[in-house]
C-alpha cells in the first residue's frame, strides 16, 4: 500500500517538474534578485520592508496560482483525458491514487517554495548585506505560506474529483478569495440574526482560514510570531487538508469515469 502511494507520489512529482513549472520558478527567483538592485537607490530602512512585503507576497500569490494550475493539470486533466484508465486498471485502490497525488503535488510545491525562497534570501542579502536574527522570522512566514499551499492543493484535488479542469480552477480560486476574508466573514456572521446567522456561521467556519497564515506584514516590520500561532496553524492546516482529501476520496470512489 505505501509502496504504491509512494510510487504515485513520485511519479506525480516527476510529471510536474518536467512540466516546465520549474522554469517559472527560476525566472521568478532571478527577477527578485534583479529588482532588489533597483531598491538600492532608496534609503536602507524602507528597502528591506518593501523587499520582504513584495517578495513574500509574490511567493504567496505565484505559489497559489502554480498550486492551482499544477493541481488541475495533474488531476482534473488526468481524469478528463484518459491517462487514468491504465493506472486504475492495475491493483491500485482509488483512494491510494488520491493520497499519492496529494503527496506528489505537495512535494512539488515545497520544492517550488524552496527555490523561490532561495531567490528571495539572495535578494535580501544583496539589499541588507548581512542577515540578522530577526530574519529568522521570515522562515516562519515562508512556512505559513507553504501551509497555505498544502490547504489549496487539497482543495484543488477535492474539486478535481468531480469538476472539469476549468471549473475546478474557478472554484478553488473562489475559495482562496473567501478564505482570505474568513475572519471578517465570521465577524459579519456574528452580527446577523436568526436562520441566516446559522447558515453564515456554518459557512464562515468551513471556509479555510487563510488570514491567520499571513504574517507577512508582521515579519516585514521585524516582529516575531507567537509559538502558539505556529502550532495552531500547523494543526489547522493538517486537519483542513485531511478533511478535503477525505472528501475527495469519498467522491472519487464513486465516480464513473467518462
Amino acid at each position: 500500500m505505501t509502496a504504491r502511494i509512494k510510487s504515485i507520489a513520485f511519479n506525480t512529482f516527476r510529471e510536474a517538474v518536467r512540466d516546465r513549472v520549474l522554469y517559472n520558478l527560476i525566472v521568478f527567483a532571478l527577477l527578485m534578485v534583479a529588482s532588489s538592485v533597483l531598491f538600492g537607490q532608496i534609503s536602507i530602512g524602507i528597502e528591506r520592508l518593501i523587499l520582504v512585503n513584495l517578495g513574500l507576497t509574490a511567493i504567496s500569490v505565484f505559489g497559489i496560482v502554480i498550486a492551482i494550475f499544477i493541481g488541475i493539470g495533474l488531476v482534473s486533466k488526468e481524469i478528463e483525458k484518459r491517462t487514468l484508465y491504465t493506472v486504475l486498471a492495475r491493483p491500485v485502490r482509488r483512494w491510494e491514487f488520491i493520497v499519492g497525488k496529494f503527496f506528489g503535488l505537495t512535494g512539488t510545491l515545497v520544492v517550488n517554495a524552496f527555490f523561490m525562497a532561495v531567490g528571495f534570501f539572495l535578494a535580501l542579502l544583496v539589499v541588507v548585506h548581512r542577515f540578522e536574527t530577526r530574519d529568522g522570522w521570515l522562515l516562519v512566514a515562508l512556512y505559513f505560506i507553504v501551509l497555505q499551499f498544502v490547504i489549496i492543493t487539497a482543495v484543488t484535488l477535492f474539486f478535481s474529483t468531480f469538476s472539469s479542469p476549468l471549473l475546478s480552477a474557478v472554484f478553488t480560486l473562489a475559495i482562496v478569495v473567501i478564505g482570505t476574508f474568513a475572519e471578517d466573514l465570521r465577524a459579519f456572521a456574528a452580527m446577523m440574526h436568526g436562520v441566516p446567522r446559522w447558515i453564515a456561521m456554518a459557512a464562515a467556519h468551513v471556509v479555510p482560514n487563510f488570514a491567520s497564515l499571513n504574517v507577512i506584514s508582521t515579519v516585514a516590520h521585524g516582529n516575531g510570531v507567537a509559538g502558539s500561532l505556529i502550532g495552531l496553524n500547523t494543526l489547522y492546516a493538517v486537519l483542513y487538508a485531511g478533511a478535503a482529501i477525505a472528501g475527495a476520496i469519498i467522491i472519487f470512489e464513486r465516480r464513473n469515469l467518462k
Binding site: 459579519f188 452580527m191 502558539s228 500561532l229 489547522y236 478533511a243 470512489e253
Partner: protein, 305 residues
C-alpha cells in the same frame, strides 16, 4: 460493494472529524491572532491608498473595515482596555471608502467622543468625522443629532445649538431639531433636552451598539430623576411621621406609595436606613449619578444633566 462501503465509512468519519477539528481551532486561532491583528492595524495604509487597492470594490472593503472597527471596539471594551487608539483610523477608512456609510458616522459620534472607558475620548476627531459625513450626505438631517450630541456632551451648548439649527434647515428635517436648537440655546444642559436628544439618536441610528448606548443613557436619565424624587418623599415621610421608614413596603402600607418602586430595568429600589435610595446592580446601569452605593457621583460631562 463491501470494500467501497468500508472506504466511505472510514473516510467519511475522517472528513467529519477533521472539518470539525479545524472549525474548533478557529476560536483559539482568533484569540492568538487578536494581538497581532492590532499591530497589523497599525500598518494600514491611508484611506486613499486602500481605495485604489480595492479595485473598485470599495463598498465591500468599507463593510469589512466597518466590521473591523466594531470588532476592535468590542474586543478592547470587553478586555477592559480603556483606550481605542485605532478606532478613528478604522472609521475614517470605512467612511472614505463608502461616504454613505451612515452607521459609521453614528458609531463614531458616540464612541469616539465619549470619555474612556466607554469611548476614545476624542470629541474633536469625532466632530471631524461627522462633519465629513454631513458634507457627503447633505440631505440626511439625522447626522445633525450626532454632531450636535458631540458638542452637547462637551458642554459646548452654544455650538450644539448652532448645529441643531443648521440641521433644522435641511428640507424635511424632523421638527425636533428645531426644538433642540431652541432649548439648548436657552437652558443649556438639562434632562429634558438630553432626553429628547437621546431619543432622537435612538430612533435614527441603525447601529445596534449606538441604540443600546442611547437606551442606557435614557435609563440613566430616568434613574437620576427617580432617585432624588424618592429620597424627597422619604424625607417628607420622616418629617410627617417622625420616624425613618425601614423599607418601601411601610410607605406603601401607609398609603404614601401605590407600589414598591421599581427602576426602569425592572429592579426594585432599595431604601437604606439613612434615608438614601439605592440601585440594585449599579454596574449594569452606566451613566447614572444618583442612587449609587457610596453616594452620588460627580456630575460629569459625558451625559446629560
Amino acid at each position: 460493494m463491501k470494500p467501497r462501503r468500508r472506504i466511505t465509512v472510514i473516510f467519511g468519519t475522517m472528513l467529519l472529524l477533521c472539518i470539525s477539528g479545524a472549525a474548533f481551532l478557529l476560536a483559539p486561532l482568533d484569540r492568538v491572532r487578536a494581538r497581532t491583528t492590532e499591530e497589523e492595524a497599525l500598518y494600514i495604509p491611508s484611506a486613499a491608498v486602500l481605495k485604489k487597492a480595492s479595485l473598485g470594490y470599495t463598498g465591500l472593503m468599507a463593510d469589512i473595515y466597518w466590521t473591523r472597527a466594531v470588532q476592535y471596539y468590542g474586543r478592547r471594551h470587553v478586555d477592559g482596555m480603556a483606550t481605542y487608539p485605532l478606532l478613528y483610523q478604522l472609521l475614517d477608512i470605512s467612511t472614505t471608502l463608502d461616504p454613505q456609510l451612515l452607521v459609521a458616522y453614528q458609531f463614531g459620534s458616540i464612541f469616539l467622543s465619549q470619555k474612556s472607558p466607554s469611548g476614545a475620548g476624542q470629541p474633536d476627531k469625532a466632530a471631524q468625522l461627522v462633519e465629513r459625513g454631513i458634507a457627503a450626505n447633505p440631505s440626511d438631517w439625522t447626522l445633525y443629532y450626532n454632531l450636535g450630541f458631540i458638542y452637547y456632551d462637551m458642554g459646548a451648548y452654544r455650538e450644539a445649538s448652532e448645529v441643531f439649527l443648521r440641521g433644522s434647515q435641511v428640507p424635511n428635517a424632523n421638527p425636533a431639531l428645531h426644538v433642540l436648537a431652541a432649548t439648548t440655546a436657552e437652558k443649556g444642559g438639562n434632562p429634558e433636552t438630553a432626553r429628547l436628544l437621546w431619543t432622537k439618536i435612538y430612533e435614527t441610528s441603525s447601529a445596534e451598539s449606538v441604540r443600546k448606548n442611547a437606551l442606557q443613557h435614557l435609563i440613566a436619565l430616568k434613574i437620576d430623576e427617580e432617585v432624588p424624587t424618592l429620597e424627597r418623599l422619604v424625607r417628607k415621610f420622616r418629617e410627617s411621621t417622625g420616624r425613618t421608614p425601614s423599607n418601601f413596603e411601610e410607605m406603601v402600607a401607609a398609603g404614601w406609595l401605590t407600589d414598591v418602586p421599581v427602576d426602569p430595568t425592572g429592579q426594585i429600589y432599595r431604601l437604606l436606613p439613612d434615608g438614601r435610595v439605592e440601585l440594585q446592580s449599579p454596574e449594569k446601569k452606566p451613566y447614572v449619578h444618583f442612587g449609587l452605593p457610596g453616594g452620588p457621583s460627580e456630575p460629569q460631562t459625558d451625559t446629560a444633566p
